[in-house]
Amino acid sequence: MAPLRAWGRASLVTALVLVGACTAKLGETDGTTGSGGPNGGGSHVGGGGVVEKPTSFSPAVMRRLNRVEYNNTVRDLLGTELRPADAFPVDDLGGGFPTVGSSLSLSPAYVINYEASAHALIDDLFSSETRWAQHVPCAIDTEGDACATSVLREFARKAWRRPVTDDEVTSLLHPLRVAEAEGFTPTDGLRHALAAVLLSPYFIFKVEVSPDQLDGYELATRLSYSLWGTMPDEALLQAAAAGELLEDDGLAAQVDRMLADDRAKAFLDNFAARWLDYHDLEKHEVNADVFAEFTPELGEAMKQEANRFIYDALISDAPVSDMLTAQHTYVNEQLAAHYGITEPPPAGVTPGEFWRVDTSAANRGGLLTLGALLTHTSLTSRTSPVKRGDFVLKHLLCGEIPPPPPEVEGIPDSGAAANETLRERMERHSSDPACSGCHKVMDPIGFGLENFDGIGRFRTHDGAKEVDATGTLPDEVHFEGALELAAILSTDERFPFCLTKHFMTYSIGRVLKGNVDEAWAQYLTQQAVAEGGSLRSIIKNVILSEAFRRRAVE
């Protein structure tokens, strides 16, 4: 297998570390990364050579279902249209993802919501004779405990994602006893017992108790939530029961099956939208006097665009860097108008539907010019080259830029020349020694994206003056515009490496730290790149690794 090319942009690392007041960390990881951002860079980056397979790693903390996972799970378990978790308090992030155990707290407010939700879900199930009969195929009021026992055993097996013990089934009969004593019907009792299944820690948490290697069911759960954001289906549970998931071939076959399944689209909202930070785009606020065109609907359309664009990468064998250099995107009528794409939609496209367009004529490219990314890295009334530069470094290259000191966004108007562009004002601003260190790193990258306004439209002018979209990367590589920047980044080995790290954090559920995790990420990236470097190969290498399949190795 070919060694990973020598992490050739090492000079960039050096440049970043040496930049004045800015202690940007691209070359170290010490576990102190804030939980909102990606994990630190690789200490071995720049070292070159083949990376050996690491031999140890630390355990993750038990995870509860997050809001998205909860909604998806009850949808698949009960066939409900209710989305109870929308009302739960927001999940905190770890390493940028709401799947990290140590960051997913469970305050009393969640428990109040869990209980209300459990009752509402069972009431909803009861409200549909068809669905109720699927779960309760016997006559509870005449057959009593015999019916309840079989119903609860099967329901708990699905809900808890594993076979249940006799003791556990017996414990679930308690509400039927109370119902009896208080003069309620057996049906009332059973409804409360079913609700108890949904309030149990075995449902709320992705329980893992195997001491080292995950058992088949634990692995099925990890796999299912990583790729589908929901509970395992019957095929996966059967594979777990048959021991197939413990074998490389069996596990790989399931990954292929699951990625090919439509449910893999959940991966986009769960992983991609967090990796690239566009998850809450519809809540992005703008100053309507400046950006009247931006509405929550447009934000939603931009999210759809990004999801569809990244889905292509998920089902393709092309290297992930192709996302950067792509010459296409997806638009609906609203987004096409927004981007100034005049080419009419192909025949048969219905209103609101998305279609694929070639972007070369519209001065747009791939990932970097997605409306979602350009908008969420802007302020309410203008672009923010700082945020855009920071985004490229942190989210695409996994560099760590320290949080801003005071006086970042405000650009004094005093001394402003008439008709000054934002770039000109900011260049004056970053001559302030207190800020200049980081700004010298971040701003020149963001400047290169100035051809796109605060809501992602291509522009040639900022106010009356022409945009200067020349930019500079920290290692003094110069470029002009988004397309050239994308071409440069597409050759940077840190891009696939950074994607691997994000996927590891998300799927294993813990903030990566220390040299051991770095080594795993490097080793797995190397394996994936040797196989062509597609998104699928990254996912598969992580999932097939011990880092994913074992709980801890000392």
Partner: protein
């Protein structure tokens, strides 16, 4: 058939969510004080001498500190009242509230421990006086939770509410658990002499509720004035059977988990116990639910409507005695909400949003804009305190008189990002324990003279004492109670 049953179920999920979705009017609360307390008397007796309420009201992104101090705030300590102090300019709309407040200035919180990420640091320490930890939620019991625990010894009902207006993950390098929450639960040690200790360790941030409709549900769902007590008891027994069912699951699982996993499991069962208490208390029975609020989120200044509605719900929750402790985040720190609709927000520096506007870099036009933003926030907070003052309590007096509302931000000066010479405002007399209409100044001391500096931790020791909690210390630096309340 299916359709009808489904409708019933949906109605239950959104049970009393009777908010109209149409744009426009904010809520009015047609409360009937006589009805309010009628049921309560028959339901349970209240062991507290007199109800005391606590609200912590946090606003984001600091103030323009040069102006946010009453005249005469220098380097010496003083405690003045009445005509001897005047409201600072940003509180110009508070003249009618001056007699209800104490302005406390010169305090410090974490300045000496500063690291990059001032908003997250200050927000994490806001009610805990604990320095955040980068990797995971570590802290100790926040002051509101310590107060709520004490109150629950004599008042059954909702332990406390954590409310806000959004949670969109703003952060500055610290975890979102420090920027989306201000209430924390941690370990409590009850000492033999009656004092309590709040050790530092893994702690649970209490996620907040942002949707006024969900808050309304929480307060009034399940309340049926026509149900008999016997019927209600039967219903409660069956509901509690669900909680009892899962207890053995926890017991069996606990033995097979690591220490850290066990802590997560315990969070679930802490919540289960607290829910049990709420079910027993049967809250919502103390007053007639107010008419459903209407709210529209379509206007440019929908944020103001959301604030108004939340303010009304907080007042009604306290007035109906459903809970006695609330924390409220007007925005999350670093919030960059659009503020272009506020008069005086002029687009200086090319920005019109909250956080971006707070960094004025000394530019006069940007300071003017930031001033307008801070004034607007103060106007909203003033309107909440006014509602507390206008609401009638059980004793016939203003609700505010039996309450203490704490107002503060996660940082001091919005532009300079500091944590020293901070100002907090308290409103309310707490049943006579607090003497209002005063400015109490502690000498800010400066960066190298921390021995003389008084901290939020010190302030909270006094606050806890006012609620009957004798703590052995508070946070990283709360060592002695200080006099700000009289």
């Amino acid at each position: 058939m299916d359709k009808t049953r489904r409708k019933l179920a949906e109605a239950r999920l959104r049970s009393r969510r009777r908010f109209l979705q149409t744009a426009g009017v904010t809520i009015t609360l047609p409360l009937l004080p006589s009805l309010m307390w009628e049921r309560r008397a028959s339901a349970q007796t209240d062991a507290c001498d007199k109800p005391k309420r606590f609200v912590a009201y946090m606003f984001g992104n600091g103030v323009h500190k040069a102006e946010f101090k009453p005249a005469g705030s220098g380097s010496t300590a003083f405690n003045v009242s009445g005509d001897d102090w005047q409201l600072p300019a940003p509180l110009r709309t508070w003249e009618d509230l001056k007699s209800d407040i104490v302005f406390v200035s010169g305090l410090e919180n974490m300045e000496r421990r500063r690291e990059a990420g001032d908003h997250g640091l200050g927000c994490g320490a806001l009610l805990t006086a604990r320095m955040p930890t980068r990797e995971k939620p570590r802290s100790s019991m926040s002051v509101d939770q310590a107060i709520a625990d004490k109150i629950q010894e004599c008042h059954s009902g909702v332990h406390s509410l954590q409310l806000g207006t959004h949670s969109v993950g703003y952060h500055d390098g610290w975890g979102t658990f420090y920027t989306q929450n201000i209430s924390w639960r941690g370990e409590v040690i009850r000492n033999a002499d009656g004092t309590v200790t709040f050790p530092h360790g893994d702690a649970t941030p209490l996620g907040k509720e942002n949707d006024p409709r969900a808050v309304f549900d929480r307060l009034f769902a399940g309340y049926d004035p026509n149900e008999s007590e016997a019927e209600a008891a039967r219903r409660r027994a069956l509901r509690k059977s669900v909680l009892d069912t899962i207890v053995p699951h926890g017991d069996s699982l606990r033995n097979r988990l690591s220490v850290e996993d066990r802590a997560k499991l315990d969070e679930l069962f802490t919540g289960i116990r607290s829910l049990e208490l709420e079910i027993e208390a049967g809250h919502g029975a103390n007053c007639m639910p107010p008419e459903q609020p209407r709210m529209g989120l379509t206007n440019n200044d929908a944020f103001r409507d959301q604030l108004n509605t939340m303010h009304d719900l907080m007042v009604v929750a306290l007035q109906c005695d459903i809970t006695r402790v609330i924390t409220f985040m007007q925005t999350d720190p670093i919030s960059d909400r659009n503020f272009s609709y506020i008069p005086g927000v002029n687009g200086a520096g090319g920005v019109t949003s909250d956080h971006a506007g707070s960094h004025h870099s000394g530019d006069p036009a940007m300071i003017e804009q930031y001033r307008a933003m801070v004034n607007w926030k103060m106007e909203q907070i003033g309107s909440f305190i006014r509602k507390m003052k206008e609401a009638t309590d059980i004793d016939g007096g203003p609700l505010l008189d039996n309450s203490l509302v704490w107002v503060g931000s996660e940082i001091g000066d919005g532009d300079a990002h500091d944590h020293q010479d901070l100002s907090v405002i308290t409103a309310g007399k707490l049943g006579g324990l607090v003497t209002t209409d005063r400015h109490v100044r502690f000498p800010p001391g400066g960066w190298r003279d921390y021995d003389k500096v008084k901290t939020y931790g010190d302030f909270y020791l006094t606050l806890l004492d006012l609620f009957g909690v004798q703590a052995t210390g508070f946070g990283d630096d709360g060592v002695e109670a200080i006099t700000w309340h009289r």
